[in-house]
């Protein structure tokens, strides 16, 4: 017992030392650029904003993985589709002008993307249901390439713009608490993430369909015996993941210029976030997303903006290796 406590405390001390080390390095690098508390605060705000997007994408990964055991590399494509469909629908005359037009276009974009998600599952995942992981990986990657290529043909190289939600114009309203700059759109992102998480949790916990989905993730054969169709659940999981991806893309769109190849890095970072939570837990995926956003922004902020992805992928590899050492979680 005593030995166990000792082991625990030493592990805790090790963790604390690690965190302190990271903070010290960040502080050191930051002080070279004369960073004050305000700069760090700004980086944290930006980190939470991007982290919320990653969290939304991560929820999609968790949905698909728990129900089907597949990691869907095409998840990022849904983010891109959500954003670009909204832009196109908003720009076409029939949805009217102003804020209602924006909401209707966004809803339509989510529906469209969801349909695409389901179709993708039926056409590519279903026929290869029993293939080994390598084959499935390459299939989802192929799907991603195809969708990105179609997007390139349809939308072209140029980045689009979507007005921010609150003002419905290009400029965003900005709050300035304690000298920090917070865009209203960042708050939209956060609120959407929280809402999506809450709705998804309630759906999985309280509804019959949600319970069926969870049953499928526990044991496919047993759930089949109980009259659940695992194949249909797989399609539904892909649909939900596509919808979540689309929502992420839509709330993100006013902050960046959506473009046909935006999906790859966002999808990968969503995966990193999901993997940080072990790929099976929704709250952990949200936590992972926020943490990844923070780490990435702080590290890139104190070093060089171009290195942002390096930090994200170092986190990815570290998470995978660490998860592996814990009870063989990432087999």
């Amino acid at each position: 017992m005593l030995a166990l406590i000792e082991k625990r405390t030493s592990r805790l001390a090790l963790k604390a030392a690690g965190v302190l080390l990271v903070v010290a390095v960040i502080w050191l690098l930051g002080s070279r650029q004369n960073f004050g508390l305000q700069q760090y605060g700004q980086l944290v705000v930006a980190g939470i904003g991007t982290g919320a997007v990653y969290a939304l994408v991560a929820l999609g990964f968790v949905m698909v993985f728990t129900v089907t055991g597949i990691i869907n590399f095409a998840q990022g494509a849904f983010v891109m589709l959500g954003a670009l469909f909204t832009v196109t629908l908003y720009e076409t005359p029939f949805t009217g002008e102003g804020r209602t037009g924006l909401i209707i276009s966004a809803l339509l974009a989510v529906v469209l993307t969801t349909v695409i998600g389901v179709v993708v599952e039926r056409l590519t995942i279903l026929p290869a249901r029993n293939a080994d992981p390598l084959t499935l990986i390459i299939i989802t990657v192929g799907v991603y390439i195809a969708i990105q290529g179609l997007a390139l043909i349809y939308w072209g190289h140029a980045g689009r713009t979507l007005p921010s939600f609150t003002t419905a114009t290009g400029s965003d309203s900005i709050f300035r608490p304690w000298g920090l700059v917070i865009k209203a759109q960042t708050l939209w992102v956060l609120a959407t993430m929280v809402l999506a998480f809450a709705v998804l949790s309630l759906f999985l916990d309280k509804t019959m369909l949600g319970k069926a989905l969870r049953a499928c993730s526990v044991n496919r054969d047993a759930s089949r015996l109980m009259g659940i169709n695992p194949s249909r659940m797989s399609a539904i999981a892909f649909g939900i993941a596509a919808a979540l991806g689309a929502v992420a893309g839509i709330v993100l769109a006013p902050l960046t210029k959506p473009v046909y190849d935006m999906g790859l890095t966002i999808g990968l970072k969503g995966f990193v976030a999901a993997a940080m939570g072990g790929l099976i837990s929704l709250p952990a995926a949200v936590g992972g997303g926020l943490l990844l956003g923070l780490v990435e922004n702080l590290a890139a902020g104190v070093t060089k903006a171009g290195l942002r992805d390096v930090f994200a992928f170092i986190v990815l590899i570290a998470v995978l290796l660490r998860g592996r050492s814990r009870a063989g979680r990432f087999q």
């Binding site: 390598l134 390139l152 043909i153 995966f271 060089k304 290195l307 390096v310």
Partner: protein, 369 residues
């Protein structure tokens, strides 16, 4: 994709050796024939003309270079069963080592007396292989403990990190010059020569590239048919079972990663001397994917599949670029990307062992009927 059935009906060793020898001789003969055809070109009867402009001689050189990479990737993915979605980064290491140490020799304090020697680039090719192998060794041990999806993600992340290092340089430059050239990359990589014999024009370089590819194929065939090769296939089938047979799976996996990285780096150096320039673009995620597609088309667990897979992908891409463009209209000439993705999906769904294996099956069935 299932593990190859290597237990059933293995022909005697001597017969297999003879078959391999015939294969190598026939293939080399074909390569030399193409080379001669281009060089002698009676009445403009060259490769480009012969194939309606789809395959240029340039393409033939590219196929040779990429074959070397894909042979290495086949060893890793097809035989040992370890996914790599970052192989293009090793290709890039070779290219960048060659490019940096030839074009930036003065900034790095390497005397012109050394840098202008004919053997200097050749030394760098070996150095690049050593560096790529070293990187693979360092990252291999921890990363190869992962399986399936997780290994794919980790290698993908690794590949992206290496390419960002090429691009960003970590903000480090010597004197006024950026070592890796950033986004634009480096220009002016010298041509290879032996003594005073230039390995250029492209007709000469072609023979070098294919010599390397064929030596690579022969070495890979030897490896595959050796004791180690059987160990690799065993660990592809079932790692735990291989372990119980006394195979040190961790060591074998790292070794095969190192070998495949060295193949890639060698090809990368040849690519740098061929293009005379390097930039981060051709070594990114898309390139890694393309390599996987090539391996998949040729058949993952098939050394001879590599040149066919590479050729098929390059030719299909070229055909799509020239013919699809007129069908779909203008989109920056990028339509082939869609077809490329679809092709990947279809092949993996219907022919997970590769097109060549499927053709072989079909002909066997046709013969027996």
């Amino acid at each position: 994709m299932t593990a190859p059935d290597f237990v059933a009906e293995t022909p005697p060793v001597s017969a297999r050796r003879r078959a391999t020898l015939y294969g190598v001789v026939a293939f080399s003969g074909f390569v030399v024939l193409i080379g001669l055809l281009q060089q002698l070109a009676p009445g403009g009867f060259d490769i480009s003309r012969l194939t309606g402009g789809v395959i240029t001689f340039d393409t033939m050189v590219r196929i040779g270079i990429l074959t070397t990479v894909v042979v290495g990737l086949n060893l890793l993915m097809g035989y040992a069963g370890q996914v790599s979605l970052g192989q293009a980064a090793f290709f890039g290491i070779g290219a960048y080592v060659s490019a940096i140490l030839t074009t930036r020799a003065d900034v790095l304090g390497i005397g012109a007396g050394l840098a202008n020697q004919w053997w200097w680039p050749w030394l760098l090719i070996v150095g690049g292989m050593a560096l790529a192998g070293g990187v693979a060794y360092l990252v291999g041990r921890p990363i190869l403990k992962l399986h399936g999806h997780y290994l794919a993600m980790a290698t993908l992340g690794l590949g992206i990190i290496i390419v960002i290092v090429f691009r960003e340089n970590f903000g480090y430059s010597l004197g006024s010059r950026n070592i890796t050239g950033g986004f634009d990359g480096l220009y002016g990589v010298p041509r290879l020569r032996i003594g005073s014999f230039d390995l250029w024009p492209v007709e000469r370089y072609y023979y070098l590239v294919w010599l390397v590819a064929i030596v690579g194929i022969v070495l890979a065939l030897n490896l595959v048919r050796s004791r180690s090769g059987r160990a690799l296939r065993a660990l592809h089938g079932n790692e735990l079972a291989a372990e119980t047979l006394g195979i040190d799976t961790a060591r074998f996996k790292v070794r095969v990663l190192v070998i495949s990285a060295m193949y890639a780096s060698l090809a990368g150096s040849l690519f740098a001397h061929f293009r005379v320039a390097v930039s981060p673009g051709p070594f990114g995620f898309a390139a890694s994917l393309e390599l996987v597609v090539m391996a998949a088309v040729g058949g993952m667990a098939s050394v001879w599949g590599a040149p066919f897979g590479v050729a098929a992908v390059l030719v299909v891409r070229e055909l799509l670029r020239t013919h699809l463009g007129s069908l779909v209209g203008e989109a920056g000439g990028q339509q082939e990307v869609v077809a490329f993705g679809l092709m990947l999906v279809l092949i993996m769904i219907f022919m997970p062992e590769g097109v060549i294996a499927r053709l072989k099956q079909a002909t066997r069935r046709w013969r027996s009927e």
